[in-house]
């Protein structure tokens, strides 16, 4: 059995979803998008999958197109929510999990998708946050991810701009702010997996086997905290890999990675039946 890093990454994201959860991804997030379909076809058959940008409920897309607002993504759905129907539910706390990424992510899980550098003359004007700013406050759990940990510029001590809220911002904690959602539960990167412990601060809990702790440390712009139970990211199953490939025949999810990451391939012995 062979697989590459992007496939493993998607499977790792999928495993942050529990069965019977109501789950949403934002647009322009093919890794999360594919992960949701993988989860629904494996360990979470009763999840309610809300396709980002289409707001289609439990669709069965024949392929994942490279744009999030395409009819392929509502294929087979009995129902598509209206815009307000989804966002109202998210604000009311009826959405259990959302996937969020960021050009910058701080130790508390605040994310910046607005601008690098000062806002009046940014060094890089990023695309913007879509719906995350409001609903990161109220959705029950957030799974954060980035495919650019290795750049050293993504996990930072302080975001230049906070677009979406993590566990605490300079204005206070979620409790201080009156926010009903639980904040980030996991951060998955191309180097490993973080949780947020009891105190709402990123802590490395798993690492990919081809990555060293030193590499992670060098790539992380804030002080790296490591779980005493640090382990290796569990391998994908054959079923999961098949489903990743079936869901995303165009491998759109791979477009999130620096091309060098695609060369990271892995092999395991087939289990003897």
């Amino acid at each position: 059995m062979n697989w590459n890093l992007p496939e493993w990454f998607v499977v790792t994201l999928a495993r942050t979803i529990s069965d019977r959860e109501v789950v949403f991804h934002g647009f322009g997030s093919p890794c999360a998008q594919v992960a949701m379909h993988v989860a629904r076809r494996t360990h979470a058959p009763n999840m309610l999958l809300i396709e980002g940008a289409m707001y289609a409920v439990n669709p069965a897309p024949p392929f994942v197109p490279p744009t999030s607002n395409d009819q392929a993504l509502k294929y087979g759905a009995a129902y598509s929510m209206r815009f307000e129907e989804f966002f109202d539910a998210a604000c009311r706390g009826e959405v259990d999990r959302m996937f969020l990424s960021g050009g910058q992510i701080d130790p508390y899980g605040n994310t910046n998708v607005t601008a690098i550098g000062p806002m009046n003359r940014p060094k890089v004007k990023l695309g913007g946050g879509g719906g995350g700013c409001n609903i990161s406050a109220t959705i029950r759990h957030l799974t954060l991810w980035t495919t650019r940990h290795r750049s050293g510029r993504t996990l930072v001590q302080e975001c230049d701009f906070i677009t979406d809220v993590g566990h605490r911002t300079p204005a206070g904690s979620r409790v201080d702010l009156g926010y009903t959602g639980g904040g980030p539960a996991h951060l998955v990167t191309e180097l490993g997996v973080f949780d947020y412990g009891d105190v709402g601060r990123a802590r490395l809990v798993q690492i990919f086997p081809d990555v060293t702790l030193d590499e992670v440390e060098r790539s992380t712009g804030f002080e790296l905290q490591v779980s005493p139970d640090l382990g290796t990211v569990p391998e994908p199953t054959e079923e999961e890999l098949e489903i990743v490939r079936a869901v995303d025949p165009l491998a759109v999810h791979a477009s999130e990675f620096d091309p060098s990451e695609l060369d990271r391939t892995f092999t395991s012995e087939p289990a003897i039946a």
Partner: protein, 303 residues
């Protein structure tokens, strides 16, 4: 409301309902159902100082920025997703400080549109507090819930002067059929002072009613038939998006000079929108329209 029984107009006079400095809502989202023919016509008319509002957009905003038509951009996202990346002209203008970015968020803009459509002077939102989106917006305020004591963010109504909406089909009264997702189009139609609409095809009222009226004619001030009026973005069930054209645009927009070359070649050349359409590769258009023939052919459009 707009009670006339026949609202069919032509593209130049429809686009001319947008004045310099207007707040303009853009229908559709990302690379789907963007009102591109109207956007191109605004460029041809030389409109400027526009205040754009919308949720997540792409080439519509970028093209207007490239043409120097935009003063303020109040969107939740502008770009081309993972696929084609950041919006080049938008990014360049923002980084040069030539564009006022009032970045917003889906729920906030929805709530502001709801305030306008409900005739209310404010509505509250949860969220936003603690973010830099809040700091960027002196136009928001705080409000304390009289029942719970919770402090929420109050946002004012957003009443666009004009909403530009493209639909696959509509009738002469302005009844429009859209496919889901409607994004904010229904809310724009209810919150804006007027809706300027283009349709790929004018149909009888009976046909539009049978397919489903999404936006009623009484909210629409003018409707223009413009085949491929959303090109190069998609307008289902008519056509998928033209990824090749979009990629070529994004490449051209990467430099200020080549962005101007794109505008000259595709937008401001003599002949207006007819010339734009005539310049497109007909075989390519046929393929975009035949997306529903087989899953395989559909998929191939995205390669």
């Amino acid at each position: 409301m707009f009670v006339d029984h026949d609202k069919v107009g032509d593209l130049p006079s429809a686009a001319a309902r947008v004045s310099d400095g207007d707040m303009v809502a853009l229908g559709g989202g990302l690379s789907a159902r963007l009102p591109m023919a109207l956007v191109r016509e605004l460029v041809r008319l030389g409109r400027q100082d526009l205040h754009l509002v919308g949720s997540a957009h792409g080439m519509d905003v970028d093209l207007l920025v490239a043409a120097g038509a935009v003063a303020v951009c109040e969107e939740s996202y502008v770009g081309f997703e993972q696929d084609l990346g950041l919006a080049p002209s938008y990014r360049r203008a923002a980084e040069a400080g030539q564009l006022e970015i009032r970045e917003t968020c889906c729920v906030t803009i929805l709530t502001q549109l709801r305030a306008a459509q409900m005739g209310l002077p404010f509505l509250p939102v949860r969220g936003v507090k603690g973010t830099d989106i809040r700091r960027m917006h002196p136009d928001y305020a705080e409000i304390v819930c009289p029942f719970t004591g919770e402090t929420l963010v109050a946002v004012p109504p957003l009443e666009p002067d004009v909403a530009l909406i493209h639909a696959p089909m509509g009738d002469r009264v302005g009844n429009l059929h859209l496919e889901q997702p409607y994004v904010l189009d229904e809310h724009f139609a209810r919150a804006a002072r007027q809706v300027v609409a283009t349709v790929d095809r004018l149909a009888t009222t009976e046909e539009v009613v049978a397919t489903g009226v999404t936006i009623p004619g009484h909210r629409v001030s003018v409707v223009v038939e413009v085949p491929f009026g959303a090109h190069p973005t998609s307008c289902y069930p008519g056509y998928a998006y033209d990824r090749q054209h979009l990629a070529a645009y994004v490449a051209a927009a990467g430099q200020a000079q080549t962005a101007q070359d794109y505008l000259a070649e595709w937008v401001t050349r003599p002949g207006g929108e007819d010339a734009y359409r005539a310049a497109l590769d007909q075989d390519r258009l046929d393929r975009l329209m035949s997306w529903s023939d087989t899953i395989e052919e559909w998929k191939e459009l995205f390669v």
